[in-house]
């Protein structure tokens, strides 16, 4: 695809060099903190706490990771997280694609109204109590569907898809309509393939949202079989940071406080949790990147 780029001049070269330098620099400041986190999770915790691990790990050990993998319920939680991510993402992507496409059509009863009806929900905040009561009335407490159903219609992704569809040439759809294809057929046969890049984007965004979500678990789920990985890890971090509340109950007995005080979550555990959570994302993201390839030769269709 770059075969045709023949005109090179001096500014072009300067720009090229500048792009490489700037991107390298920015990538470095993005990567280094992450590298810093990694080397601190595998260095001896006391050295790490002293802030001496800066360039390379010291006294390498993997105890932090081993400890986390011993957290009870971890594997079940992992399954829950994977299920909600896969199922939730699939449904969200499907719904966003369909609605994004449908909202580009003129022939919908009160289209403009319904589009606005959808979009403005992005800015709604009803408050936590009515939300909880609604979910409870719907039977969505201690229910796996609580992770999925509310996220299916996601206005932001719908907008993204709609904008994308609008930027593709109208001729494609027209041609198909003339051929006698119905709305659903066009969606399935033509729009889905064309929208691959934006759907990949939506998929990444919504998968990460699902994977990282734990606020819903906090309030809606008390059945430990439905706890997600993020929740379990959050629980693990929180366990030790509750000292302050105890301290104010002066008579809690200094023994209780002392024992709690010494089991403080060190930053290194927080860091380890981050790595464990991010690693799968970093593993999956490049797979999605494959959909970001230029490929549509509209010219071919037009001809």
């Amino acid at each position: 695809m770059t075969a045709l780029r023949r005109s090179t001049d001096v500014t072009d070269i300067i720009i090229t060099i500048l792009t490489y330098v700037l991107f390298s620099a920015f990538t470095f400041i993005c990567v280094y903190p992450f590298y810093y986190i990694i080397i601190n999770t595998i260095s001896a915790n006391d050295i790490s706490a002293r802030g001496e691990v800066i360039f390379w790990p010291k006294q390498v050990h993997f105890q932090n990771y081993i400890d986390i993998f011993k957290v009870p319920g971890l594997w079940n939680a992992l399954m829950i997280s994977i299920s909600r991510t896969v199922l939730g993402t699939t449904l969200t992507v499907g719904a966003s694609a369909f609605l994004g496409y449908m909202f580009t059509k003129d022939k919908i009863w009160m289209r403009k109204f319904w589009y606005r009806f959808t979009i403005i929900t992005m800015f709604f905040n009803a408050g936590i109590i009515p939300w909880y009561l609604t979910m409870k009335t719907l039977g969505l407490t201690n229910n796996f569907l609580a992770y999925i159903l509310p996220t299916i219609v996601a206005p932001f992704y719908i907008i993204l898809v709609k904008t994308f569809v609008e930027s593709t040439p109208k001729e494609l759809q027209q041609a198909a309509t003339i051929d006698g294809a119905g709305t659903l057929m066009i969606f399935w046969r033509i729009m889905l393939p064309i929208c691959k890049p934006i759907l990949a984007t939506v998929a990444i965004f919504s998968a990460v949202d699902q994977w990282n979500a734990f606020q819903d678990t906090l309030l809606l789920v008390t059945d430990s079989n439905l706890y997600s990985l993020q929740f379990i890890l959050y629980n693990y971090i929180k366990q030790a940071s509750s000292l302050s509340t105890l301290v104010n109950l002066q008579n809690a007995g200094s023994t209780a406080i002392a024992s709690l005080a010494t089991e403080q979550t060190t930053t290194s555990i927080r860091m380890t949790v981050t790595i464990i959570v991010v690693a799968p994302i970093m593993f999956v993201y490049p797979i999605f990147q494959r959909f970001f390839v230029k490929g549509i030769m509209i010219g071919a269709v037009k001809g």
Binding site: D46, A49, R50, K70, P72, G73, W109, I128, I129, Y132, L133, K136, L138, G139, L140, T141, N142, N143, F144, L145, L218, L219, T222, D223, S224, Y227, I232, Y234, N235, K238, Q239, A240, S241, S242, L243, S244, T245, L246, V247, N248, L249, Q250, N251, A252, G253, S254, T255, A256, I257, A258, S259, L260, A261, T262, E263, Q264, T265, T266, T267
Partner: protein, 587 residues
């Protein structure tokens, strides 16, 4: 608004099908979630211990810092004994909204470990069970009704005029309302003992002198053992509540406390109510002390930016010179170091007059209650009765005989070698007890009805293993001996009492009432302002700026509604004063 003819039949069918599927899915889930615990069939008449059906008890515990099922050795113990599993809900994990939402939904949980003020809200809402009759039939709980539960429940005069028993306070120490059993006041000056010896162990006269001592110490020991710089005083911001928390607890050294549930006053043992922003208040005195310390370069420059975790690391490294909470010693002190005279110890300042509350005779601010929707209250009661029995307390606090502790010939208990470190090391527990790490398997409710200062009838000693005679003998380190030699008493509490440097005020336990929404909003705005101003004062450039910030705060908080909040707090203080007088009179 939609006309029928707009729709083709096919479209109708599609639409209805989708709706029906959605309805079925929703309904199906509802029914499956409803049948969680089971066991509602067996009504469990009192005393009949029909444990054949497994019961899951939902425990809503403000004290817990773990959410999920109780597993490990304690989980197995309860399963074997009562055929129950505790499913713990922890607002400390899930956030304070957990309380609001569940309460709004009408069911908080089966066992509730909640704050006094929450109990006060839940009684009139009919969300806690009246335990008066059930508790009469218990073996162990009933022993505590007259002396502990009744006075506590009756103090909720407004919502409980008949003096029914709705709840049992936590961490009761059945010693006496005026005894203080710990070896060190909760907040008092603490220094590294070896450094203190190293600079000649001067007798510290007052706060100004303390600053000089700290300066000398820092100059003589500029580096901690690991090479990092010594920091005489370090502060942290993330525990700040109504005011600057660090200032609050140092204020205790000079006879004024900051009662929990109030934010605008300080209260003395004699019942003097001092507004926080009064020019004569201890709060200002301590701010001035910290300001001066900062002027002398003794305060950690990172104080305002760091959180407690960072401080904990510095304590572990012995970087900090001045501590005040008793438990802060535990980060560095060990027996092995104590043998070499190394470690933190109390160093009294001659002019202090510490205010200390006595043992929690009436409990300490939280309660155990049973939710009104609990499925099987009798079985819960059976469990709670065991929870306060000697057997239950020994298990809950000290683990297994033979594993964590052993009986000696004199009939007392002694920690085994494993027991001494089982908690810190999270030692694996034998499979017969349930396996897993010892710490992981500990009771996660994280709160007791009878606390570790209860006395084991068999040994006559506290349940708290730190105070067993065998433990004390093992802890007789060089540090301790040197200390005792210099101050002539066995421990710091004794020294303060002997020299009349401490006021022990009776423990009281009640609800001071919850704020109206109006006061709540004013209070949080004022607190916010006071905290910011306090921090700025400690790090002020000079005395002039310090004074200017102080007087600006005095005027500004008035604009935020200071007088209203102060009136509420004064009233609360009056209640405290009254109850303390009653506790003394009852003795």
């Amino acid at each position: 608004m939609i006309k029928d003819r707009l729709f083709s039949r096919k479209a109708w069918i599609i639409c209805l099908t989708i709706l029906m599927v959605a309805a079925v899915v929703l309904a199906g889930c509802k029914s499956s979630s409803g049948g969680g615990g089971g066991g509602s069939g067996s009504s469990g008449s009192s005393g009949s211990n029909d444990y054949s059906e497994h019961l899951t008890i939902t425990v809503f515990s403000n004290a817990a810092n773990y959410q999920g099922e109780q597993t490990g050795w304690y989980g197995k113990l309860l399963k074997d004994k009562f055929n129950i599993t505790l499913n713990i809900l922890a607002p400390q994990v899930a956030g304070s909204q957990l309380y609001n939402t569940r309460v709004a939904g009408g069911d908080l949980g089966d066992i509730l470990v909640i704050d006094n003020s929450q109990l006060e809200e839940l009684i009139p809402a009919g969300m806690v069970l009246d335990l008066t009759d059930m508790i009469q039939n218990t073996k162990h709980l009933s022993q505590y009704v007259e002396k502990h539960f009744k006075p506590f429940n009756s103090s909720f005069t407004e919502v409980n005029p008949e003096g029914r028993i709705y709840a049992m306070p936590t961490f009761i120490a059945p010693t006496s309302p005026t005894t203080f059993s710990e070896e060190l006041p909760y907040s008092s000056p603490i220094l590294p003992w070896d450094y203190y010896q190293g600079i000649g162990a001067p007798k510290i006269t007052d706060l100004d002198h303390l600053l000089e001592v700290l300066k000398t110490m820092r100059d003589q020991y500029p580096k901690a053992p690991n090479g990092l710089p010594t920091i005489p005083i370090t502060l942290w911001k993330d525990w700040d509540g109504g005011s600057m928390e660090n200032v609050r607890w140092i204020s205790n050294w000079y006879g004024y406390e900051h009662p929990e549930g109030t934010t605008t006053i300080q209260l003395s043992a004699s019942g003097d109510i001092m507004p926080l922003i009064d020019d004569r208040s201890n709060y200002k005195k301590v701010l001035q002390f910290l300001f001066k310390a900062n002027q002398m370069g003794l305060v950690d420059p990172d104080s305002a930016a760091q959180d407690w975790n960072k401080v904990a690391e510095k304590l572990t490294n012995k970087q900090v010179l001045l501590l005040w909470y008793t438990w802060q010693r535990g980060f560095y002190n060990t027996i092995a170091r104590g043998m070499n005279g190394d470690g933190y110890a109390a160093v009294p300042i001659a002019d202090v007059h510490i205010l200390q509350t006595s043992d929690a005779y009436y409990g300490n601010g939280r309660v155990f209650a049973i939710g009104s929707k609990a499925k099987n209250p009798q079985r819960i009661m059976d469990f709670l009765d065991w929870y306060v029995s000697p057997e239950g307390l020994r298990y809950t606090i000290n683990g297994f005989e033979g594993f964590n502790y052993e009986r000696t010939e004199d009939g007392k208990f002694r920690l085994t070698e494993i027991g001494q470190t089982a908690f810190q090391d999270n030692t694996p527990v034998p499979d017969e007890y349930g396996g897993g790490g010892y710490q992981d398997g500990q009771y996660k409710i994280n709160s007791l009805i009878i606390g570790d200062f209860g006395t084991d009838p068999e040994t006559g000693e506290f349940y708290n293993s730190n105070y067993w005679s065998h433990t004390l003998a093992a802890n007789d380190t060089k540090l301790r001996q040197e200390w005792q030699q210099m101050f002539g008493t066995t421990n710091a509490t004794e020294y303060y009492i002997k020299n009349n440097m401490i006021d022990i005020v009776p423990n009281i336990n009640t609800s001071l009432g919850s704020d109206s929404s109006d006061i709540k909003n004013k209070r949080s705005q004022i607190s916010d302002y006071v905290k910011d101003a306090s921090w700025k004062m400690v790090f002020a450039k000079d005395q002039a700026e310090f004074d200017q910030l102080w007087s600006k705060m005095q005027t500004d908080v008035k604009g935020l509604g200071w007088d209203d909040v102060f009136a509420v707090d004064s009233e609360r203080a009056q209640k405290i004063i009254r109850l303390r007088a009653e506790a003394l009179a009852n003795q």
